[in-house]
Symmetry: C2
Amino acid sequence: MESKVAVVGAGQSKYGESVDKSVKELFLDAYIELINSVDNGLEPREINAVYIGSLGSGGFQLGNLSALMAEYVGLPGVHAVRIENACSSSGFAFIEACLAIMSGMYDVVIAGGVEKMRDVSSLKAKYWLGVSGDTEYERLAGMTFAGLYAIMANRHMHDYGTTREQLSMVAVKNHKNAFLNPKAQFQNKITLEKAMNSPMVAYPLNLFDCCPTTDGASAVLLCKAEIAKKFTDSPVYVAGFGTGTDYLALHDRETITSLKAAVLAAREAYKKAGIKPKDVDVAEVHDCFTIAEIIAYEDLGFCERGEGGKFIEEGLSSMEGEIPVNLSGGLKAKGHPIGATGTGQVYEIFNQLRKTVQKPARQVKDAEIGLTHNVGGSGGTAAVTVFKV
Amino acid sequence: MESKVAVVGAGQSKYGESVDKSVKELFLDAYIELINSVDNGLEPREINAVYIGSLGSGGFQLGNLSALMAEYVGLPGVHAVRIENACSSSGFAFIEACLAIMSGMYDVVIAGGVEKMRDVSSLKAKYWLGVSGDTEYERLAGMTFAGLYAIMANRHMHDYGTTREQLSMVAVKNHKNAFLNPKAQFQNKITLEKAMNSPMVAYPLNLFDCCPTTDGASAVLLCKAEIAKKFTDSPVYVAGFGTGTDYLALHDRETITSLKAAVLAAREAYKKAGIKPKDVDVAEVHDCFTIAEIIAYEDLGFCERGEGGKFIEEGLSSMEGEIPVNLSGGLKAKGHPIGATGTGQVYEIFNQLRKTVQKPARQVKDAEIGLTHNVGGSGGTAAVTVFKV
């Protein structure tokens, strides 16, 4: 499709544990960076609408969240909508913002997300993560999120020979990338040995195969493509997007070694963008667990089905590889403030394509096409967006 | 604006206490009636997207709710998004569905809502209602929702001479209407004396000034206006819509005798539809408390500011009046399953304009223009939509 929407600004709070900042203040951090990132300036009154993704805003903290975020940053009166699609909440908030612009109703729109997970009890956090899967068949039967992805990992290992080492290699790569990201939750490199020997959580997933719980916010500024140059000489265009859904409970699905929602989303996004998977220069994918990144390589067509393990082992997703994946550190090391993750991915791709990442060492070279892949829960929903400069 | 979107089907579960039905089953009830309401038939595979409004889906029951509802009614794979804008969740879900169609991405879309409130403790229900206001300034200070509207009512009485009798007259009218609605939670008439003498909740609001907690679901079918006649010979068109937001906490607002979010929403909706308030033939407004309906008359321009009390007293909003309001019984007597209320209002207007309400005695005569007015929380958000045949 012809690009009808452009991204012209982006901001992200520091991800991690923010004991001293409320949800509002985290979002304000992202908003301020967003405003400052608009090269030619932006008057807040030019903003028509705000879409905020959040999973547990009400449960962790606050309701009617989008209006609340809008008022707090000084935008009372705007069209404001909160989206909850589990861990893909702001991936979908971004797409709803695109639709709003494409409808002709709004010209300048913020899409963002926020989550504050670390100041509630771990039991409550676990409850909120649990509701992202199927409550009746899975959560109430005692299934945890690590458990769901462990089932997928076991089957992937059985069917394709994927190894425990390959899982840990994803963690090692993403920590290495996050080491160069001042906004990441974990800015430490880890060795393969350390990753392999961390405590087991749900076989075969150990501690270093799991993303952390995170406080954080992100926000990006979208506008009608025709007016993008008003805001910046280097906009990033939305080349195409797609979404998909699937049965929430694993037992209902056609397969558990692939997320059908993500396959549907990717197919639609590539078609709309008129590109093939190998055209992607840089990608942020939803690595809530290391196995999820390996499955994402396959679902996105970066490699053949069953070859995801080899893809990481051969370094093809590393900074120097064929398609660098999760240069931000991904959910695994940058952190996973659930509702903020989707637009946080867009923040990274926006800066990668504009060559404005904070540390040059993390800047991918000559990237023209970027992709974000945001999954809700254990694959009940997925949103994939392709960007180009 | 030229009508780009049509409503061609609608369904609603029975509102009330549904001990024997889950959230899924309530939504299925609405979906089945929706499917059966499509005069020329609808193949489920024609549906491209599902937008579900819900306030507490995660807290009361389940997460990633829209995908879950889609899979349960047999629509796995569709674009599915859950909207949470407090009590205006499905009013906004409806508008997001309109934007999705206007964007050109989707042709046939379901907008709906669901809430199951009566099988959680009243403390938990109160918590979930509380988060719809401002948590930091109001809820945590002990403010209840009846308390917030009581403050508005007191000021309205002080400034404009609105009386306690006039508040009760709203309850009497809405119960009278609900008596004719087989899907209403309360199908009993009440006398003015009974309404006046019910137990005080928060002065001046007594028990009969407050809407109940309700289990229920609603869903409507929208499509691109050009293809509406494929589904029915009598579509209802979306003539215009508008939204607004305001500071969540009352103390931050310009006024507390009017909801600015609703005023903004109405102004935009009327402008888009090219009509004046007096052109409205029938309306469903957000009467979470009786004072809210009186303020709605004024915010929507059905009468002058301060004249809302007289508007009900003179019978202008009754079945036989100038602009019949809440013929369904409204939130007060039809019930208020929070996330379902917005599209539940559309369900009523759809049937009123098509002359297909279940009981002829509740059918307004010769109505061509209908309006829905859905408020989030104590006025943090509002959505107004104008319909025409």
